[in-house]
């Protein structure tokens, strides 16, 4: 399943995905290398827009948890993120977006 968009005269399709992990250099590096290999193995890169980004857990999730109670990750068996600065925040999202134009 993919989303189909029409932006003015440009038609493109987009697929996305996300994986969450603890902030760790080796993990970041190996995910980067692995996704690089996936891109390089694409049968065609023409009109492909490929993006992999790493972002820390959103502050709003921590704010919500702080107000309503509960772990900001919704998990009881991992450390909470509340109070962590964005730089030292434990959890990162690896977000994937691939757009195919035309």
């Amino acid at each position: 399943m993919f989303q189909r968009h029409i932006l003015s005269d440009i038609l493109y399709r987009e697929v996305t995905a996300s994986v969450t992990f603890n902030n760790d250099y080796n993990t970041i590096r190996d995910i980067w290398d692995a996704t690089d290999a996936v891109y390089n193995a694409l049968p065609s890169k023409d009109k492909v827009d490929w993006m992999v980004s790493f972002i820390p857990q959103a502050q709003i999730q921590q704010t919500y948890a702080a107000k309503r109670g509960g772990n900001s990750l919704g998990l009881t068996d991992v450390p909470d993120q509340i109070g962590e600065s964005s730089i030292s925040r434990l959890v990162l999202y690896a977000n994937f977006s691939m757009q195919l134009f035309g």
């Binding site: 969450t20 190996d30 891109y39 998990l75 994937f96």
Partner: protein, 78 residues
Amino acid sequence: MEGARQQFVDESVAVAQKYGTYYPFLYINYAAPFQNPLCGYGSDSVEFLKTTAAKYDPNGVFQTLMPGGFKVGNLTCA
């Protein structure tokens, strides 16, 4: 495209599990249709979502007629 997306998920999860850094929580804004971000909110939150949906949408309009997104109606978490 679907193959590339599945590969991204499989490879990234494998890496995170290899280093013991994998978290089951998923960022819903980017989650793929085959991923299950609602369960990542925790059992209490899932129950709250189901109760709220049942209260304000007893006929399941948003569970059955609204296309796309992730639905709580038939959600089953491990």
